[in-house]
Symmetry: C2
Subunit: 290 residues, 2 copies
């Protein structure tokens, strides 16, 4: 288990209809963070385009790319030049007609370690993802890099304690949540504030329950009826927020100490007492059964 | 699914070495809440005695009682008189040499609906529960009363999202957490504050992830090296804290609207998207396996 300190880099950005510009902007911010010493850098969900899931439009499938496509080809250069690892969320097309909401993992040598495919797909007004994305088929993964052993989940996954647990049980020391979430137009402000608070709280709880670091990276800006709320943050293994952004474009450079994981796990040894003999019902949709 | 409003009653109390006095005090407070209209009342964990798990002492087993013992016999009268349901945490002795940390559930007719036996047993300095209690063997249960369908978990259970999920999946609309937790003597104040915040946060997250109400009921007062931190609270199905206590003896009478469960579950339909086909690994202690 790694137990050193390292700096994380979070790119909180607004996205536009101009793909080249989004890629350039993301690259520039990631490079700035790398120059400041970030060893592990994460972009927001679907960073390369507008959040196109607000409508059902088959022409949007043209935005998709292969796991080793333009995003990987661009950021592998950054990885090699600065010896940083990156989490690059993409609209993934393994083949025509099959699409995932994914994140490409690049290590400090520029190698493509693998791709996480979002397991939990939302579908509600303004977030019609089930039209575009097949639920991920690759399971919950840990990625081992020089910087840290970490897992990636994506946005809607963040509401599911099962996803956090399954990733942590594989040895992830950090859970990254690239995200696209915001306020819906026409909703009362207090409802939006309560949703934001719930979003922060449930992710902090994954840090607490698993004694891992949690990193949420959201976009900002208004697109159609959604004002993406930013508020990217890093929580320590007791859920303490070490740094958080507001609702504007900004980078966060956050130093963490991986040794805190061991400290908190020895203080309150949750893993010791899991009643794994009683958890089989988690795989049921509803109700008891035996 | 019940969708009416009702008032919950939480008794946050200090406990003493005098069992009769603790019972009398708990009864008086529960009765006061019943008179104010509470229909569902919860006491703190092991309300009948000091928190005896600070030391290993076989004479403490004399504090145990049967599920239909003195606590049930006392509070069934309250249930009948005021038509209230109650959650009465006890040190349970099914037979000599076998002990559980339990909660007796009494419905509005005074019937003993059943007993929840704490599944996750802590053991750390000042909380040496593995000496006294066998891990619960009764599973996660829902109790159906006129007031609401609810589940009870106990203290250390609160750190485990699996316990909350399994109880909610059976139809619990409210999760009760009778508790005995506090600050440890000699710890820095900021560490204690962070622990309290983590305790609130992880329980609020069970409300959010399952869209249920969560009710935490703690004791207060200093016993040996622990100052029990009170801070009993009720959270709604989006994790909003509806009411919370400070660190002194007090009752909370909190009106909740069970219809909020349906509202939030339809707004963000988490249950729809659980990837139950991917959760089997939850029953593993550590690592992947396939």
């Amino acid at each position: 288990m790694k137990d050193h300190t390292l700096k994380l880099g979070l790119v909180q950005m607004a996205c536009t209809a101009d793909i080249a510009r989004n890629m350039q902007q993301a690259y520039a911010q990631a490079e700035a963070l790398a120059k400041q010493g970030a060893r592990l850098i994460c972009l927001p969900e679907l960073y390369r385009s507008l959040y196109f899931c607000q409508t059902l439009d088959a022409t949007h499938f043209a935005l998709a790319e292969a796991a080793d496509g333009p995003s990987y080809q661009l950021f592998r250069q950054l990885a090699v030049q600065y010896k940083v690892s990156l989490i690059i969320p993409i609209f993934e097309e393994p083949t025509a007609g099959l699409y995932f909401n994914s994140a490409v993992i690049i290590n400090e040598t520029g190698a493509h370690l693998g791709t996480y495919r979002k397991q939990h797909i939302p579908h509600d007004p303004g977030f019609e993802e089930k039209y575009y994305f097949t639920p991920g088929d690759g399971g919950y993964r840990v990625w081992r890099t020089e910087a840290a052993d970490f897992g990636t989940l994506i946005c809607w996954d963040q509401w599911y304690p099962e996803a956090a647990r399954l990733t942590a049980l594989q040895g992830a020391q950090i859970l990254f949540y690239p995200t696209a979430i915001g306020y819906s137009a026409g909703e009362p402000a207090e409802e939006g504030a309560a949703q934001l608070d719930a979003w922060v709280t449930v992710q902090r709880s994954h840090a607490i329950a698993n004694n891992v670091f949690v990193v949420a990276v959201n976009r900002v800006g208004t697109e159609g009826g959604t004002r993406f709320w930013g508020n990217s943050f890093v929580a320590n293994p007791l859920g303490k927020v070490l740094a958080h952004a507001d609702e504007t474009e900004q980078n966060l450079l956050v130093e963490i100490d991986l040794a805190e994981i061991r400290y908190y796990r020895q203080w309150w040894p949750f893993l010791r007492d899991r009643r794994i003999d009683t958890y089989a019902g988690i795989t049921r949709r509803w109700g008891t059964g035996e």
